[in-house]
Symmetry: C2
Subunit: 181 residues, 2 copies
C-alpha cells in the first residue's frame, strides 16, 4: 500500500495523439524532433527529485537492448512476474520485484524508497488505474502517429489533475507538468 | 480541393487522455473546471481570425439543443449528407453542405470563405486524415476519463506539427497551439 509519505511521478514523452510507442512498440517517433542541444528537457532535475525508479520488464529489456552503459543514477526496481535474473554487472543497481501492485509497492517501501519515478507503459497504467500517480511531466512530440500504445489506455474512471508548469522547446515540442488534485 | 490561400483551424478542448466527449457523446467533463472568470480562453480572438465555421451535423444539433440564442458571429456551414432543413431563423446564418470532403471544401470556397474554423469530432477527423489542418488550439481539461470519443481517432499516418504557444490557466487547464510543419 502507498505510504502517506510516498510520491509517485511520471516523466514521459507521448505523441500528440497520446501514444508512447508505435503499434510495434517502437519509439522511433521520439527522434523526429532532435532534442534541443545542451538541454535535457528537465530530465536530470527530475531524476534528482526521486529516490528510485520503478519500471516494467519491457522497459528494462528495452534499455538493455540499447547496448549503452547503464544510464540510471538512481536504484532501479523492475516489476516482473516472469524474470528474476539480474545481469551480474547490475547486481547492486537493479532489484526485481513481483506480485500485484500493492506487493510491489510494499517491497520497494520496505527498502526505504518512497519517492519513485514510475516508468513504462503497463507500470504507469497500473498506477493510474489505482489513482496513485501524484505528478506527471508529459513531453508532447507534436506528431500524430494514427495508432500505437496509449499512455492512458484503460485509466479506469475519472481522475483529476491540474497543470502547474509548461514549456515550449525550440524544436516545437511542449512539456506540461500535471499534479493530481 | 484546398486552395493555396485557405487556412483550416481547430479550436477544441479535450481531456488529458484526448477525448472530446465521453462514451455517450456528452461533454459534461468540460465543466469540471469552471472557466476562469472574465476570460474566454482565447475563443473570441480565435473567432476573429476565421471567416466562417464548418461543423458536422452532430455539433450543429448539439448547439441547437442548448436552447440558447445562436452563438456564432461568423457564417456556419453544416456538413451533413442527411439533413438540409435549416431552421427559418438561421436562414441567413447557416448553410448546409454535402458530399465528400473535397466537394464540401469547394462549396465553401465558392462562396468566398477560405479561413475556416473546423469543428466537430468527425469533421475534424476527416480534415486530419487528409492532413488539411493548419493550426490546432487544444485546451486540455486535465482529467482522465478512461474512455470516450478521441479527437485523433484514425488520423491515418504520420502528421507533423510544432507547438507555437501555450498558456496555463488559473483553474489548472492548459492550452497549447500547434501549427502544421
Amino acid at each position: 500500500m502507498k505510504s502517506n509519505s510516498a510520491i509517485y511521478k511520471v516523466f514521459i514523452a507521448t505523441s500528440l495523439d497520446g501514444y508512447i510507442a508505435d503499434i510495434n512498440g517502437c519509439i522511433g517517433f521520439l527522434d523526429i524532433f532532435p532534442a534541443p542541444e545542451g538541454d535535457d528537457m528537465g530530465y536530470n532535475d527530475f531524476i534528482d527529485r526521486v529516490d528510485a525508479i520503478l519500471m516494467g520488464r519491457k522497459s528494462f529489456e528495452t534499455v538493455l537492448s540499447f547496448g549503452i552503459p547503464w544510464p540510471y543514477t538512481k536504484h532501479v526496481f523492475v516489476w516482473s512476474n516472469t524474470i528474476s535474473d539480474i545481469p551480474e554487472e547490475l547486481n547492486s543497481k537493479v532489484t526485481f520485484v513481483k506480485g500485484n501492485i500493492n506487493e510491489v509497492i510494499d517491497h520497494v517501501h520496505q527498502l526505504s524508497f518512497y519517492n519513485l519515478y514510475i516508468d513504462g507503459g503497463k507500470t504507469i497504467q497500473s498506477f493510474i488505474q489505482e489513482n496513485l500517480i501524484d505528478e506527471m511531466t508529459i513531453t508532447t512530440v507534436p506528431v500524430l502517429l494514427g495508432e500505437g500504445i496509449s499512455l492512458f489506455a484503460n485509466s479506469n474512471g475519472l481522475k483529476k489533475f491540474k497543470c502547474v508548469a509548461n514549456k515550449i522547446y525550440p524544436n516545437g515540442m511542449v512539456q506540461n507538468r500535471f499534479i493530481r488534485i
